[in-house]
Symmetry: none
Subunit: 213 residues, 4 copies
DNA sequence: AATGAATGAGCCTTCATTCAT
DNA sequence: TATGAATGAAGGCTCATTCAT
């Protein structure tokens, strides 16, 4: 592992545990086993480390996420796969995601130009991904006629909100992957959904009752 | 307005704008028009201000929220009212909520005993509120058989996640109140739902179609 | 007990325990059960409390000390009585003396005019007292021909040094009263000492020999 | 002179003149001609400087003192040498000793663990040294049958008390070295002392008489 | 590439003292 | 006499960043 990588690794762990602004560069240097000056040789500022981390994470999150979506038959399936992936990523890279969720969008003081642009770009690309899924689902009939952008924002907010609870919150939060999938599928699934699943059946019978009452 | 209130007000605005740790007490004093020392006369530490703010907000959020819930006929209605209230509160007190969302649970370095207890208590009470609604809805038939705690956490995560996006996020987020209500109602509503409402009607027709197709 | 006395009492205890400069006036006020402002009503400054305390203590120490000395038959007896009194005073008023020893002569930052004059006067009067004893002893033959001022300073240094060790030092120091008396008597006693005691006998015979040699 | 040494030197001078707690780190930095931050780079706290100073002084005092003692023929000579050394050290390092005497054992607020351990250790080692001399003198007959520990404490108290008077006191105190040596020798010397000196002669003859009486 | 000494601005907090009531 | 809100200067310490080696 190169010294640069050692620094990034140490920074990830410490940012995740204490947060960006509560982590001194001296702590990063010590944890990485390098001199403090080297940090500023590789990354120009402390924010530079964060930029670098966020960049990597965003790329990896987005590309993997897109990968899963591309292998799905319908838009709704893509949504389901994305949710599943999100929480798997959250488990596999919980430290990295903690950084993302803790300090990604906002907590940076005087958000340097670079960093806030990075933030905005990341947000745009993620919501874009969800919008694609939804539009695709609406076309292929797997998703009902929900407003695209609003729903995308809702989903993204839900996932980050729940992950934030899990990773940083003060209470015990179990794995909610399946519940969130069920919840979302019930909320989104369109008319031609053929997959069945308990949810669809239940809805059906519910309304049948209404008809006859 | 007493000087103490002036300090709290100034702190709210500045914490909301810059975040807790990026706001020097000197800035609070200047904004409030008092000597810096007075801050420590009233609140013993900088964290003391935050504790005080969070306490007030949590109490007001919880009591008002419970108030709305108590005037609802069914559990599902209570959920809807709570969601509606959440976003109204978010609009009315956007600065206060920004503090809550930005720094409430987490970003405080070495969260003093008081503060982390406060955080945990707040979290417990909020989730409890949601659990009550859900259980009530399951009893009165307005909510389907979802797991109580998991769903409560999901809802709370969703609301805070979306609010965080709106208040602190780098992208424009419109008012999602109605979409989130629709979304949640579709995901939660039980069989005997009589209230109608657009969502219910839509569901109805959807299934009617299935029957005849 | 008047409020003024309550303040003095509280100050004595706290100064003794923590030292003058480490004791905030707020602590004194709280301990005394009065408002902080009252301290400055009675004594003009924090140093004023100390002045007052030191004044009282010095007066009481000096007048009592002189009292004992006046009832002694010889100068050496007066020395012995003074030493005995010093350690009795030290036991009876250990807190007061702790203040005296800790902060009396020196530790006052920017020693206000009043305070340093007080200090100097106290020192002059104490050494004067010892000098009187010694001169008296030299006249009545109970004390050998030691240099007056030097011996007075030596004795005073010894007493304060040992008390300092006892009261403030990090190690256990037993009561040294009798050892110090013995030590000093051996060092000081003159030829005509009649009181007996091993030391006196030895000295006496010593001179007999001299006469014959 | 390295910057670290410059800091220590400046601190010694200022602590000696004004005392530890009345000396701001900013003053030390200015006096040493370095940035204030550098102080905390080398010593972690302000107390760290003091620890460092006290450590050095204690070591040098103890080792030199022991050195002198080891070259003495008798226990009493060792005592005399130690006293002589104490006041020579006091003259040569009057500033350093001022720090030691002013703030060594006590005046440090909330004496950090390190510091109070240092204090206790120093005290233990010094008294030990004196005890050794006395025991040695009692064995070789140069010191009479005085209680070891009590006498050691007495001597130590006397030396520090007198030095304190000289260095910090409000009155002029001449060099008392020889008087203290005389004083102590008279108080301590044993019967078989052959070295001559007035005191020794007197004691000697004293015993001769006793034999015959 | 790598080190770590050195900087200096800024922060939270303490505290003696004043003053209106 | 008595209160305690209010002040503001000062202090110890942190930390991102620079720079000579």
């Amino acid at each position: 592992m190169s010294r640069k990588e050692a620094i990034l690794l140490a920074a990830t762990q410490l940012f995740a545990k204490r947060g960006f602004s509560a982590t001194p560069t001296s702590a990063i240097a010590k944890e990485a086993g390098v001199a403090e000056g080297l940090i500023f040789h590789y990354f120009r500022t402390k924010e530079g480390i964060l930029s670098n981390l966020l960049n990597e994470m965003t790329e990896s999150y987005l590309s993997e996420s897109r990968d899963r979506m591309d292998h799905c038959a319908t838009g709704l399936d893509a949504i389901k796969a994305s949710i599943r992936f999100h929480f798997q990523f959250s488990r596999d890279n919980s430290e990295a995601l903690a950084v993302l969720i803790r300090d990604f969008p906002f907590s940076v003081p005087r958000g340097g130009e670079t960093l806030s642009k990075l933030t905005k770009d990341g947000a745009d690309r993620v919501t874009h991904l969800w919008e694609e899924c939804i539009d695709r689902g609406k076309k292929d009939g797997s998703i009902r006629g929900v407003p695209t952008r609003e729903t995308a924002l809702l989903l993204w907010g839900m996932l980050t909100g729940v992950s934030r609870l899990q990773i940083l919150g003060p209470i015990e939060v179990p794995d909610l992957t399946h519940h969130i999938i069920d919840f979302s599928v019930r909320a989104l699934s369109g008319f031609t959904e053929k997959k069945g699943g308990k949810a669809a059946v239940l809805s059906f019978s519910a309304n049948a009752l209404l008809v006859f009452s």
